[in-house]
């Protein structure tokens, strides 16, 4: 170490160049590194989406998903758990992998497994979509397509076939199918009456189209010099020609398609509707995937928009809405601002304390350099610039100052002793190298547990710990090198040392202010000495009282409450509306109209941005994979409400009012507020609510009854809002129970009935897929033969669907009885077991208390649980509990590690104990600060606590090491303690104040990291008190017991006097 210092003095250019390199690389890294809201949460997830039109949720679960999940569990390695949702028409299986899995191998295995099972699944099912994404895949921007001239189907077509392929070129974007609109396809509307009149069946029409509209290459023929391609008019070039295809000759008259059906551009019955401020639109959601930065994705999309607009019809309006980039910019900017304010305040404080602009200059140069070095290092290991890393850097500022200040002060002290500049620097360095290393190690050690943090919290806080660690290491290195080089050049000519003696009279107000400060500081130092004297004199009483106060403070801890993360004010509200299960989409739209009217009554127009309704199940299962709002059918709708920033603070009131009014105004409909902004969506990890009570087990009916009873109890837990069961099991169902004997008597089978029903109710596409290529735009549109839904609108129209085979025909009603009943709207599995989710959100109460109350209910009702079933709490509660455990263990481990480090350093068991004994005070301070500011405990607060441990220890080490030194010089314990406290008053206070002032802007903000700042401030305030009073008192108690003579004679001061 000292060799480096020598180099810094003898070869000054070396480290100036190093500083310049840091600037170059640091600035380059800061510019190039992607900026994002959060670090990449690389929990690998592979989603598999199975689609089968018309298949109800129950069958999807039993016939497809269950089988596939079991195959997955045997064929794919490193699975953490499997979740699945079976909905009508599609099933989504999400496979969560262990950390560090080779995602490519996992993808390959998952895909292979889906090929294996394909033959065992219902006939005609297509291989699934396999998508790879992670927990931070959230919507970052949405495009709303609307038009006064184009139909909804054309809008969807533009989105699906023209905009989507172009946007796919934006790196890191994932674009599911558009929401809303109608799917453009060739619709052959069958007229049942006419079919019956001709004695034809729907099958005949399907066959006719299938045989007359073909894609078969016929070959080539050589004539003369050329080889001609022989082409066949296999497919009509105009859509109208489909109507002219002959079906069959009946009694000499040819029946054409047009006689019994009508082929036209149309849409299947709409299942997903989107409205922006009440008018129909198509919504394209763009998500970011993988490690791409949110801002890059948004900017990439925005850059493409002008080009896209040129290729689209002029009447199509393309608007970007819910742009999260402003949120990211705001969050990042505010953290950067906080950091700058912190740096400025700290610099000012240093100037006031040291009273030397030269010293201050050296310190303020070294801070940005350390930060830039940290940014470069973060960039090199692939971290983005985000709220967490920036928060870490802001946190580091306070500590960084300390390192440089200690160095400079020490040099100044030696200069004051009249030494030459170079020897002053060398002596100072020699004295300081060990304590500086020890305190660096202390702070680094406390961050070690954070690297073991699992789950989301780990992904979020590891980069923060890295940022702090890199900055501290950089600062440590800079203090040994560049600071010394600069000190040699700047301080050499400092003829008079500034503080203390021989002050010339001056008129400079700043200098006068500084001198005034010095005077007051000295006065308070004297007051401190008196107080310390009293404390040491009455040491037993004092220590006991102090400990009592500390322990007493912990009594407040239960009142703090626990959250995973603090809730931040946001400008978006997402209201999930669930109409009575099975409500048709038109009915849900009507309810949404009413809800919107009500919302506009509650929220003043000035506070309200656009309202976007997204009604019903999206057209593609891929959308359901990314969607985290728990939509299961046409009765579900998401209403996205944007609050203008000026009214942001009112958002919570609006939510409460809506929670009161809406359920009463719309009986039978349930409402829930979902995580809307990017932060809470990431923290909820794909769940629609923070609280998720899962009833796991195969006994569906009994579990449902139990869950219903549980729900009622949970709804009464104070602070619970929006409690609901996700898996509605009352989807209205009409069972067609075919009497097989009766059917057989007229020559029909169950299969004939099924086929006839399918053709009438869900179209022919699944059974006999055919396409028509539009020569104008080259898009292949599916041809779907179907009875229009509006012709089948009663029970008897269902009974009157003819079931026919080659030579027999009978009405369905003649063969079957209709039975009314219910079926599940959605079937969910967790770890290949059926589950029921009770979702709930918290309202004005912390997650920890609410979860504890719910856990109590679970324990009480455990005896009612059906045999073989179990009930667990997952969701944020689980993540929070595990994060807390890890962090608390981390804190304990940090204390142990620090203790051991100091034991090694002091070569004593007792003195480190003195130091560690001050740490509970820091915790008590945190409790007080959080209690007074009404901040709940949260992961950031606990991180702050860990941070505090490091700084508090470093301060106590200063005091104890000086006391030991004095003890070694032969003074008694009381004097040593007294001297240590008094001498170290200034540096201890400076370190603590630098840190506190550095944290002030963060603590006062309402951002995610505010509790961190508050915890650090509270902890440091109290731990400084402990360092200044409690530690000397304990020191005396400890050392009073042993006479001086008994002390280790071989003791050499491990820590040299570091007079600052």
């Amino acid at each position: 170490m000292l060799a480096i210092v020598r180099i810094a003095l003898s070869k000054p250019y070396t480290f100036v160049v190093m500083a310049m390199l840091i600037v170059i690389f640091g600035v380059a890294a800061a510019v190039r590194t992607p900026t994002d809201i959060f670090p990449n949460i690389g929990i690998p997830v592979v989603a598999v989406v199975w689609t089968y039109d018309g298949l109800p949720a129950d069958d999807m679960s039993k016939r497809v998903i269950y089988y596939y999940e079991r195959t997955l569990s045997t064929q794919v390695n490193d699975i953490e758990h499997i979740e699945s949702q079976s909905l009508p028409r599609y099933g989504v299986v999400k496979v969560f992998f262990q950390r560090g899995v080779n995602i490519n191998a996992a993808l390959a295995q998952t895909t292979a497994a889906s090929q294996t099972v394909l033959k065992y699944l219902p006939p005609g099912i297509t291989p699934p979509f396999v998508l790879s994404f992670n927990a931070s895949s959230v919507p970052v921007i949405q495009l709303a397509l609307s038009s006064s001239a184009l139909s909804q189907a054309q809008l969807f077509d533009a989105g699906q076939n023209f905009i989507r392929p172009q946007l796919a070129s934006v790196a890191g974007s994932a674009i599911p199918s558009p929401y809303g609109g109608k799917i453009l396809q060739v619709q052959v509307d069958i007229d049942q009456t006419k079919l019956q009149a001709y004695g034809l069946s729907a099958q005949d029409v399907v066959n006719a189209i299938g045989q007359q509209n073909i894609v078969t290459p016929v070959g080539s023929e050589k004539i003369g010099d050329f080889e001609y391609i022989v082409s066949l008019n296999g497919s009509p070039t105009r859509l109208d020609e489909l109507n002219d295809l002959p079906i069959r000759v009946v009694n000499g008259a040819t029946v054409f398609v047009r006689d019994v059906a009508y082929a036209h551009f149309g849409a299947p019955p709409q299942i997903n509707m989107v409205r922006v401020d009440g008018s129909n639109a198509v919504l394209m959601t763009i998500l970011k995937t993988g490690s791409a930065s949110t801002l890059d994705v948004i900017n990439g999309v925005k850059a493409l928009l002008p080009k896209l607009r040129e290729t689209l019809p002029p009447s199509l309006k393309l608007d970007a809405i819910n742009d999260q980039s402003s949120f990211v910019y705001a969050a990042v900017d505010s953290v950067v601002f906080e950091g700058l304010v912190a740096a400025a305040l700290t610099g000012l404080m240093i100037l006031v304390f040291l009273g030397s602009w030269r010293s201050t200059l050296i310190i303020t140069i070294s801070i940005p350099l350390a930060i830039l070095a940290s940014v470069a290092a973060l960039s090199a290991i692939g971290e983005t610039i985000n709220v967490m890393t920036l928060g870490g850097l802001a946190l580091a500022v306070g500590i960084l100052v300390d390192d440089a200040t200690v160095t400079i002060e020490n040099i100044n002290w030696h200069l004051e002793q009249g030494k030459e500049i170079e020897s002053a620097i060398m002596d100072g360095a020699r004295q300081i190298v060990i304590p500086a290393t020890v305190s660096l190690l202390c702070i680094l050690i406390v961050f070690v547990p954070m690297f073991n943090l699992g789950g989301v919290a780990g992904y979020l806080f590891r980069p923060m710990a890295e940022a702090v660690a890199f900055a501290l290491i950089a600062s440590y290195v800079l203090s040994r090198t560049l600071v010394n080089t600069m000190a040699r050049n700047l301080l050499a000519h400092q003829a008079v040392h500034e503080h203390g003696t021989a002050a010339k009279p001056t008129r400079n107000p700043l200098v006068r202010f500084q001198r005034g400060f010095e005077r007051r500081f000295e006065a308070s130092r004297r007051l401190y000495r008196d107080l310390l004297e009293t404390a040491i004199a009455a040491r037993w009483t004092f220590v006991a009282g102090f400990l009592l106060a500390v322990v007493g403070s912990f009594a407040l801890a239960p009142y703090l409450g626990q959250n995973f993360f603090p809730s931040v004010a946001n400008t978006q509200l997402k209201l999930h509306v669930r109409a009575p299960t099975g409500t048709r989409i038109e009915g849900t739209a009507a309810i949404c109209n009413g809800v919107e009217t009500e919302i506009r009554r509650i929220i003043p127009a000035a506070a309200l941005g656009p309202i976007v309704d997204n009604i019903g199940l999206p057209v593609s299962g891929i959308n359901s994979t990314y969607n985290n709002s728990g939509t299961v059918g046409p009765g579900d709708a998401d209403i996205l409400i944007t609050i203008t920033p000026a009214y942001q603070s009112e958002a919570d009131d609006y939510v409460r009012t809506m929670r009161e009014i809406l359920p009463r105004a719309f009986p039978g409909t349930t409402f829930a507020f979902l995580p809307a902004d990017i932060v809470s969506q990431i923290l909820n990890f794909g769940l629609p609510a923070p609280i998720d009570v899962q009833v796991v087990g195969a006994n569906f009916d009994a579990n449902h009854a139990y869950a219903n009873a549980l729900l009622k109890k949970i709804a009464h837990v104070p602070g619970v809002a929006d409690a609901r069961i996700q898996q509605a099991s009352n989807y209205p169902t009409l069972g067609v129970e075919v009497d097989r004997m009766r059917a057989a008597a007229v020559g029909l089978t169950e299969g004939d009935v099924a086929k006839s029903l399918q053709e009438s109710l869900s179209g022919s596409f699944k059974v006999a897929p055919t396409f028509w290529i539009n020569p104008k735009n080259g898009v292949a549109y599916p041809i779907v033969t179907q009875t229009p839904q509006y012709w089948l609108d009663s029970v008897s129209s269902l009974e009157n669907i003819p079931a026919s085979s080659q030579d027999s025909s009978q009405l369905v009603g003649g063969l079957a009885t209709l039975k009314r009943g219910t079926s599940p709207a959605v079937v969910s599995h967790y770890a290949v077991q059926p589950v029921l989710d009770i979702y709930a959100a918290t309202n004005e109460r912390d997650l920890g208390s609410v979860s504890a109350d719910i856990q109590r209910i679970l324990d009480q009702t455990a005896k009612d649980l059906p045999r073989g079933s179990s009930v667990v709490m997952r969701g944020q509660t689980l993540t929070m509990t595990s994060a807390y455990q890890q962090l608390l263990v981390g804190i304990a481990l940090a204390i142990v590690l620090i203790y051991m480090l100091i034991v090694v350093n002091f070569q004593s068991w007792l003195d480190p104990f003195v130091i560690v004994s001050a740490l509970p005070t820091a915790l008590a301070g945190i409790v007080w600060m959080l209690f007074v500011t009404r901040t709940t405990l949260s992961v950031p607060a606990l991180t702050g606590a860990i941070m505090c441990m490091g700084v508090a220890t470093a301060n106590s080490i200063l005091v104890v090491s000086f006391a030991r030194e004095r003890l070694a010089e032969g003074v008694d314990a009381a004097t040593a303690a007294m001297d240590a406290g008094f001498t170290r008053f200034r540096p201890v206070l400076m370190t603590a104040m630098a840190m506190i002032i550095g944290m002030l802007p963060m603590a006062l903000s309402s951002e995610l990291n505010a509790p961190l700042g508050r915890a650090v401030i509270g902890g440091l305030l109290c731990s400084t008190l402990a360092t200044l009073f409690f530690v000397p008192a304990v020191f005396r108690i400890v050392h009073d017991r042993r006479p001086v003579s008994e002390r280790d004679p071989a003791h050499t001061p491990a820590i040299e006097a570091t007079t600052i």
Partner: protein, 435 residues
């Protein structure tokens, strides 16, 4: 202070001897310190107490709010007395009331036809005339045969008279006279035979005019001028078909499952592809009273008046049978039903707005409504769209029924809006767009 022994504290070097004025300052310090600590302690306790009290107060308020929120709000409906008519729709064939296929009975070439298809014909109207030259000749032959036979008869009579008178004079033998008399009788029979033969031919001649058997419409014509008609053969196509379409018979092959519901006198309406907007009335006349073994269906016959001739024979019709209502049944919207443990229940409210679950039996399912024939009384307040978790004895809030609901009128309007109507409207607009 106690520690005034060497080695001296560093403090002394910095600050001069602190013990010069130590006792008073220390004492003062002690007092000050004590007071400060006391003050701090009191402040801390005060802050803690306020904080804790404030929090528990908030918690109570929150608990009240949550409890209030946890009471579900429901809408109630009253069961309606008397059920609606329900419909059974079956495909049917429209046939004429009478329909005759007219064949030729006399051979010959068609000389002329007078009525084309679609023409109305009164009974006896000549539809076509067949040219029968052969027949005419046969008649001439027959006429001469008659004349010949008559001549023979006259001769035979005279001969017989003569022989009779001769016998009287016994000029001839009795035998011979009897022969002559018999001969005269035979001749008379021959005349009758020849006459009958002539009459037959003449009658045949009348079939050369093909006439309408009853008032009706010519529905087919398979002859043209000059075409040969073979008499006495049924294998050829009918020359004309005439149908009486003043009334129509509609035949419906009802699946066995519906056989019991279809009785004589039932009203029905017809819907024809060619008249999508028109409804024809019909009445069930009779049924075959036998299930066809092959198709397992019952043939049902309906009559429909057809004054304007819009119904045409052979047409396809959707026959909507109106199944008469059961006046005793109670009707409920289908969304009020709860399906639990294979039983169908409805949630009713007692006067205290507590839920009473009742098991009901569905008599008939009308789609959006069901007929209940047991377990429910007309005065019950039934919960519409009951939440799945609704349990016996649970307290609910009734929507719109006072207790100071903060709901605004507009919201309730939205909620109470007739949903099926809405849906239909939307469906209609959807249809418009699709088409």
């Amino acid at each position: 202070m106690k520690h005034d022994d060497p080695p001296r504290s560093v403090l002394d070097e910095d600050e001069g001897d602190p013990r010069d004025d130590a006792p008073p300052r220390s004492a003062l310090g002690k007092v000050k310190a004590g007071r400060t600590i006391m003050l701090f302690g009191l402040a801390a306790v005060a802050i803690a107490v306020t904080g804790v009290v404030g929090r528990s107060h908030d918690e109570e308020r929150l608990a009240r709010w949550t409890d209030k929120q946890a009471v579900p709000t429901v809408a109630v409906v009253a069961p309606a007395r008397g059920s609606k008519t329900s419909e059974l729709v079956l495909p049917g064939d429209v046939e004429a009331f009478y329909s005759a296929a007219i064949h030729g009975q006399t051979s010959g070439y068609v000389r002329e036809w007078r009525k084309d298809i679609g023409a109305e014909a009164r009974q006896g109207d000549v539809l076509a005339v067949i040219d029968t030259p052969e027949l005419d000749q046969s008649i001439a032959v027959a006429e001469s045969e008659v004349a010949k036979a008559k001549a023979n008869l006259a001769l035979a009579k005279v001969t017989a008279q003569r022989w009779d008178s001769l016998r009287a004079s016994a000029a001839v033998s009795q035998q011979t006279a009897d022969e002559k008399t018999a001969d005269a009788r035979a001749r008379a029979a021959e005349v009758a035979a020849a006459q009958a033969s002539l009459d037959r031919l003449k009658a045949q001649k009348t079939f050369a005019n093909i006439v309408a058997p009853f008032d009706g419409v010519v529905t087919s014509r398979n002859v043209d001028v000059g075409s040969l008609v073979k008499g006495d053969s049924n294998d050829g196509a009918a020359l004309f078909s005439v149908a009486d379409i003043h009334r129509m018979r509609i035949y419906v092959r009802a699946p066995e499952a519906y056989a019991a519901a279809l009785t004589s006198g039932m009203k029905a309406t017809l819907q024809l592809p060619e008249y999508p907007d028109r409804v024809f009335e019909a009445t069930v006349e009779t049924t075959s009273r036998a299930i066809d073994r092959k198709s397992r269906s019952l043939l049902v016959e309906l009559y429909a008046d057809n004054e304007d001739g819009a119904l045409t024979p052979g047409a396809f019709a959707r026959v909507h049978f109106q199944i008469p209502p059961d006046p005793k049944a109670l009707r409920l919207p289908a969304n009020a039903l709860l399906f639990r443990d294979n039983a169908i229940e409805v949630a009713t409210l007692d006067p205290d707005n507590r839920v009473v679950l009742k098991t009901v039996r569905i008599a008939r399912d009308l789609g959006s409504e069901v007929e209940i024939d047991g377990g429910l009384s007309a005065g019950d307040r039934v919960v519409a769209n009951p939440p799945e978790s609704l349990g016996d004895g649970e307290e609910v809030r009734v929507a719109g029924a006072g207790t100071g609901t903060p709901s605004s009128p507009a919201g309730q309007r939205g909620a109470r809006r007739e949903r099926p109507g809405d849906a239909r409207q939307l469906a209609a607009s959807e249809r418009g767009r699709v088409e």
